[in-house]
């Protein structure tokens, strides 16, 4: 395979401590190497060079993403682009088709995206779409928290058996890590209800707090690359910041052998709300950031708002119902037997709305108030707080106080009263941007050990070259540069050049296969078999995802601790 040499770039590679140094990058056979002999030379001419972006949380594939597309032809018609010699057709803005997802991420310099919620029973669907998403490497997090097996084991205190079940689900779904979404609440949504962190889920007699702690412990027993990935209870409710903080405390004592957090909480913007209703609603980003600053066991991603129309979608069924009750717009719900649920409804974030204005501020506030960028990731919880195509806007805001002030002036005046953003002066450096978009995210997912998020020897040859000088301070130019790379290189192949997609190789699917004691597995299987015999609508043998769904596999093996 051809060699590539990227010369004269200014490299930001946080996992290797490289802070904007003029440095050559050599790639052979898709991997970063120390030197090359006969390379294709790319002259980066003083431009910004970073590892390929790693998105820690985005809804890009699977049942609810596609339900979002299916029920929003009005969104589909927004992003239409004709096929080219290289690219397939594109559609959509907040719910792009699979091809557009691959191309648009690659144009922003991203090469890995984590699909943040995979219902185990519908895992095949998630994989079918990921395979059809060009360029990007990917993985998916199976939902495990409203699962009857999980709740029964948590209720009995059987953490080893719970770990055996988690291991089985990872293998059966070709999943990557443990996803938790409104634990207990989605099961209660089966009856049209919801619950909070310390409420007891009827029938199963567990609390959401117990579910989170149990899964946290099981996750560390399996030595998973990623920590538990948590969407905490009461998303979007005024005053929920205290529940969020209480959730962090749950796993404070959980030990891990891995060099990472024991809990990642996602789209934290939606969980940093003060007030008691929408009238006295206010930002509590300082409270959340304060907690994260004082503790080392939890990381967050921001889930920052992009103004405009979008499509909200989550396994948090009751939350979507509440949102639809507010807007009266179309609403899809899909409860999944014994496991999880999902809801979808369109939403418009308007700068004229006081509530939306505060939401808009909170995501950026979190990124600015958390002092250590290794604890925070850039996301929009695509497409919930806005589509991923808005990342360059967020980057420009984090890097420019001036841009933030200009934008704030266009928002509802409540921003000067109930939000903190106007009072914050901090500006991100490019090095810090590289941390929150690749270094931190790869490390939090455990993927830095598998060649992602850095450019050290042995890393994947995934590189983004942005068409800007490291000294650039103009927010508009920064935004433009991060929207369309000069080059994106994936596995040593140029996939984007001058903002155009020039090649569309297939991405790999990363999944984890945890091994545990056979006796434990056998005991777990007795209970699981009964679930299939009596309550599932498919058979046990037809449940696991077949190898055919993962044509480009990347398997990570782990072993359960005794």
């Amino acid at each position: 395979m051809a060699e590539v040499l990227i010369k004269n770039g200014v490299v930001y590679d946080p996992l290797n401590g490289v802070k904007g140094e003029k440095k050559d990058i050599c790639i052979r056979d898709g991997k970063v190497v120390a030197e090359v002999k006969n390379p294709k030379v790319i002259d980066a001419e003083g431009r910004v060079v970073m590892p390929g972006g790693v998105d820690i949380h985005s809804h890009i594939a699977g049942g609810k993403v596609n339900s979002g597309r299916l029920f929003r032809p009005e969104d589909g018609r927004k992003g239409l682009e004709a096929k080219t010699k290289v690219c397939r057709m594109q559609s959509g803005y907040s719910v792009p088709n699979t091809f557009a997802i691959g191309y648009r991420y690659a144009k922003m310099g991203y090469t890995f995206v984590m699909e943040a919620a995979m219902p185990p029973l519908a895992a095949r669907h998630t994989h079918e779409e990921m395979v059809d998403t060009p360029i990007l490497d990917n993985a998916a997090l199976p939902l495990l928290d409203n699962n009857w097996m999980t709740m029964e084991y948590v209720n009995g205190g059987d953490i080893d058996l719970l770990a055996a079940y988690v291991a089985w689900i990872m293998k059966a779904t070709k999943g990557f890590g443990v996803k938790i979404v409104n634990p207990g609440g989605t099961e209660m949504w089966g009856w049209g209800k919801n619950c909070s962190l310390n409420d007891t889920v009827p029938t199963f007699n567990v609390t959401p707090a117990e579910i989170i702690k149990g899964l946290g412990e099981a996750n560390e027993k399996l030595e998973m690359p990623h920590s538990i990935h948590v969407h905490t209870n009461m998303l979007g409710h005024p005053g929920n910041f205290e529940i969020t903080k209480e959730t962090y405390d749950l796993v404070k004592g959980v030990n891990t052998v891995k060099d990472r957090q024991v809990m990642h909480t996602t789209h934290t913007q939606f969980h940093s709300y003060g007030g008691t209703n929408w009238g006295d609603f206010e930002s509590k980003a300082d409270e959340i950031a304060g907690y994260i600053n004082q503790n080392d066991h939890a990381t967050i991603d921001i889930g920052s708002v992009i103004l405009g129309d979008t499509t909200t979608m989550t396994a948090d069924g009751p939350m979507e119902y509440n949102l639809y009750q507010i807007t009266g717009r179309k609403w899809t719900n899909h409860d999944v037997e014994l496991e999880t649920g999902s809801g979808i409804t369109p939403f418009l974030y308007s700068g004229k709305s006081p509530v939306n204005t505060i939401q808009w501020a909170i995501g950026v506030e979190l990124a600015l108030l958390v002092e250590d960028p290794w604890k925070i990731a850039l996301t929009t919880d695509h497409p919930n707080a806005g589509p991923f195509i808005g990342y360059p806007i967020l980057i420009s805001m984090l890097m420019s106080k001036k841009r933030r002030d200009e934008s704030s002036a266009d928002m509802h005046k409540v921003i000067y009263d109930k939000a903190l953003l106007p009072s914050i002066d901090r500006e991100y450096s490019l090095y810090e941007i590289a941390i929150i978009t690749r270094g931190m995210t790869a490390k939090a997912l455990g993927l830095h050990e598998h060649g992602k998020g850095h450019l050290g020897v042995g890393a994947d040859g995934d590189v983004a070259i942005y068409d800007m000088s490291p000294e650039e301070t103009d927010a508009g130019k920064i935004q433009k540069a991060f929207l369309n790379t000069k080059y994106t290189i994936k596995g040593g192949q140029i996939v984007v050049k001058d903002g155009e997609v020039v090649a569309t190789p297939d991405g790999k699917t990363y999944f984890v296969t945890p091994e545990c004691d056979d006796k434990l597995t056998d005991e777990m299987m007795v209970k699981l078999k009964d679930k299939f015999d009596r309550y599932y609508s498919v058979t046990l043998n037809n449940y696991p995802v077949q190898d055919a769904y993962v044509p480009n596999p990347y398997e990570i093996k782990t072993q359960m601790r005794g």
Binding site: F71, R72, P73, E74, D75, G76, R77, G328, R329
Partner: protein, 261 residues
């Protein structure tokens, strides 16, 4: 004043298959300032191939125009397979002599279209300004929304000389529609603004409406069972029952008004 005559060549529609020609590129604002030769070279879609306008139409240009407002396009020939006439037009005038195919006047923002015949489905779809006059009948979804949208027509005026098929003004938010004949089922479905007048009969008018006004001067078949009778009112000397609805959308939202004889 400039008149651009476009006559569809008969060979376009004489095959076994009647493949539509899509003429959204031929509006007064888009053709303004072009010479005859340039107009002939404008690309139009005929099936999956783009063709020169001059290859599909006989083109003649008469007079000059100072702005798009002074441009009048006259379409002749068999127009029953000509789609998207005046789609997105902003100014000027189009006269179509015959029955026209779907999406005539869709997304129209200004100017005037006169159809001397019937118009197929989605005429005036998402229209927000201008005048659309259809001498004959209008097929379904007149002035409706595009699939999945929550807003159809928002402005302008549409007059249909004949009858209109189902779902006139679905999700209409503004503007005015007058149907001289009858309207088939569900006129004003999900309407939330604007005004529809049906001079003939209607079937289930006003379903799921949340605002706006519908007047049916003929008889109503299958009156919705979820409207509330508010009293009577006299309009142009005739006595009408005034209903509010649609209560199937909840009382909070049921702000539509339906006048029925």
């Amino acid at each position: 004043m400039q008149t651009i005559k476009l006559k569809l060549k008969s060979e376009v529609t004489s095959g076994v298959a009647k493949i539509p020609v899509e003429v959204d590129s031929l509006t007064p604002d888009k053709l303004f300032g072009k010479t005859e030769a340039e107009i002939k070279a404008v690309q139009v879609w005929w099936g999956n191939k783009e063709e020169n306008t001059g290859d599909l139409f006989d083109v003649s240009v008469d007079g000059t125009a100072g702005s798009a407002d002074d441009v009048k396009i006259v379409l002749d020939g068999d127009l029953s397979r000509v789609k998207r006439i005046g789609d997105g037009m902003k100014a000027g005038e189009i006269e179509a002599n015959g029955d026209v195919d779907m999406h005539c006047g869709a997304m129209m923002a200004g100017g005037k279209i006169t159809v001397r015949g019937n118009a197929d489905c989605w005429a005036g779809r998402e229209m927000h300004g201008g005048d659309l006059v259809i001498d004959g009948d209008a097929a379904a979804n007149l002035c409706a929304m595009y699939r999945g949208e929550m807003t159809g027509m928002t402005g302008g005026k549409v007059t249909v000389g004949g009858n209109a098929d189902e779902c006139v003004g679905q999700y209409m938010g503004g503007g005015e529609i007058v149907i001289k004949g009858n309207a088939r089922m569900l006129a004003g479905l999900n309407m939330h603004g604007g005004k529809i007048v049906i001079e003939g009969d209607a079937v289930m008018p006003g379903a799921d409406m949340t605002s706006g006004e519908i007047t049916v001067k003929g008889t109503v078949q299958d009156m919705m069972p979820s409207f509330k009778l508010e009293g009577t009112e006299s309009i142009d000397g005739a006595e009408y029952k005034k209903y509010s609805g649609d209560l199937a959308m909840t009382a909070r939202k049921a702000k539509g008004t339906l006048y029925v004889k």
